[in-house]
Amino acid sequence: MEPVKKGLISRSGLWVGVLAAVALVLPLLVSSTFAIDIFIRILLFAFIGVAWNLMGGYAKQLSLGHAAYFGLGAYTSTILLIRYGVSPWIGMLAGGVVAMLASLPIGALCFRLRGPYFAIATIATAQVLMLLFLKFRDFAWGAEGTTMPNLGDAPLMMQFDGKAPYYYVVLALLAIGLAITYRIERSWMGYYLVAVGEDEDAAEAIGVDAIRIKRNIYLISAFLTALAGTFYVQYIYFIDPNTAFSFNVSVEAALVSIVGGIGTLWGPVVGTVLLEATSALLQSWLGGGHGGIQLTVYSLILIAVILCRPAGLIGLLTDAYDRVVHAGAARVKEVPLDG
């Protein structure tokens, strides 16, 4: 990546600051629980997308099985909470560790495969975990699942009155995810990742240990995804295998990144805002009872993006930004990582 001009750094820093300020005061300005619920969903899926993007975007390993880690995070904290009374804050970290441990054998198996083989193998691992949790009846409540104990307003147990605190929790998660991505993007690891993503054989030929790089980024990605799992089941007060290991989670994580722009810091955020906002708008226009229309529109957007802007929509935003800011002047464009 080229050294960027000082002026631009402070300018983009300014924009991040403005964005953060808006995100922080948003729950104070909006009182509708419906709207806050949508914001929470947007932040949550943006966070899952950011976690996926480390693996799928930078290293170009198309995982369609991130629900495995989402589910492991969700189940670890829930089992610790209900069986042992452990706070989900601790359970969340424990879930992250469990997910990291699980990612080692899964990675060892799947990293030998490339492209579509890898994608299919990751789908299978998530499905196997879901089927196993359906069978663990005594240990993990089987297919019926369980509701979370209602502890009232108990911030230490990650339970809150009203939705705004949940909003701040997930906002913090997203900020952590973005910060980690930002750090990695600018470290040696980021360059190695992009090299592996571009051409694994060539990267190995110049001495990059591709398997180790992929394993390390998979650990981080799995850890973050598990945090999202704990948050989600704490937020909806319910867990069952179909929720925790839902294929939709795996897909959504990848989709928001693709629509926004894979291998870019803000891509998953842009993608989530667009897709979730569209589906929320459709829902409020049409109301319930039109099963399918939301996802129909959603998939049409996706097809249009893939056909017209395969590098993701973030390119449109940065282009427009450049045109406004640097009108006439030399343009410093962010080079999309997947070229």
């Binding site: 492209g115 579509p116 299919i120 789908i123 989709l255 099963g291």
Partner: protein, 289 residues
């Protein structure tokens, strides 16, 4: 005990024939066009709805409407290749997989919108009948489905090995660039390959209709099986996909019989992961690698 095993093997083989039609389609598209079609199951669903509505409106037997669903899906396949897949051929795995994935999402939800989530069934005179072979019980509808599936697979094999277009298709699968240098028109070959693959999925749909309900998500049952079969049989290898599909039908059925009703899929996925661990290129080698 022996009868139980034999019965489970027969049940598995019969449903394996249907899996074969779906997975041969997936592997054909992958072999020739190099795209994994995540929407293949949805074309089975379309085939089912075509047969359902023809049966419900005009009383046409699903085995007869096979002659309508197959050509209809062939045409859809040609259009799919020409208008959608062709435009992502030069892009990497990711846009390709997501295009077919988005297509799957689109078709499922259009079906939900147009046909609702209701289960739809077609009753035929042979839906409930069965052949008894000693202690064994063979449902006629499944037997017919299996037989037709095997005939269609055989016809595809003959087509690929004896006709010019079939040979061109195999050549394009082996090495697209050299095939083009030899004067093969890739667009035409690709269109026919995708058309044939979808026609097989349509056939699977019509053949399922006498004994399986149609609903918008029905394709996902079959597409997961097809993926496993296609990987076991080596992506791009038609014969491999056929054999692997039958094996998986049997494995699933034995799993249901001996491990528990909800364990069929666990057995199948365990097979997939073991194969990937020990024979990552599948069991049969292939055209493409």
């Amino acid at each position: 005990m022996l009868t139980t095993i034999a019965q489970a093997v027969i049940n598995g083989l019969l449903i394996g024939g249907i899996y074969a039609l779906v997975s041969i389609g997936v592997t054909l598209i992958f072999g020739v066009v190099k795209i994994v079609n995540f929407a293949q199951g949805e074309f089975v669903m379309i085939g089912m709805y075509i047969s359902y509505f023809l049966a419900a409106s005009f009383g046409i037997d699903p085995l007869v409407s096979l002659c309508i669903s197959m050509p209809a899906l062939f045409v859809i396949g040609v259009l799919l290749q020409h208008f959608l897949l062709r435009r992502v051929l030069a892009l990497g795995d990711m846009p390709q997989i997501f295009l077919t994935f988005a297509l799957s999402l689109l078709l499922v939800n259009l079906a939900l919108l147009l046909f609702t989530a209701d289960y739809r069934t077609v009753q035929t005179p042979y839906s409930e009948t069965a052949v008894h072979l000693g202690a064994l019980y063979i449902p006629v509808a499944k037997l017919i489905a299996f037989a037709v599936a095997m005939v269609l697979s055989g016809l595809l094999w003959v087509f690929l090995h004896t006709t010019d277009l079939g040979r061109a298709m195999r050549a394009a699968a082996q090495n697209r660039d050299v095939a083009m240098l030899m004067g093969i028109n890739p667009d035409r070959v690709f269109c026919v390959a995708v058309g044939l693959a979808l026609a097989l999925a349509g056939a699977a749909g019509s053949l399922l209709m006498p004994f399986y309900p149609a609903y918008p998500l029905v394709g996902q049952v079959f597409v997961l099986m097809a993926f496993v079969a296609v990987v076991l049989g080596t992506l791009g290898n038609v014969t491999g996909a056929l054999i692997a599909s039958l094996m998986m039908g049997v494995a699933e059925s034995l799993g249901i019989q001996f491990v528990g009703a909800d364990s069929g899929l666990i057995v199948v996925f365990a097979m997939l992961l073991l194969t990937l661990a020990f024979r990552p290129n599948g069991l049969f080698g292939g055209w493409s690698r």
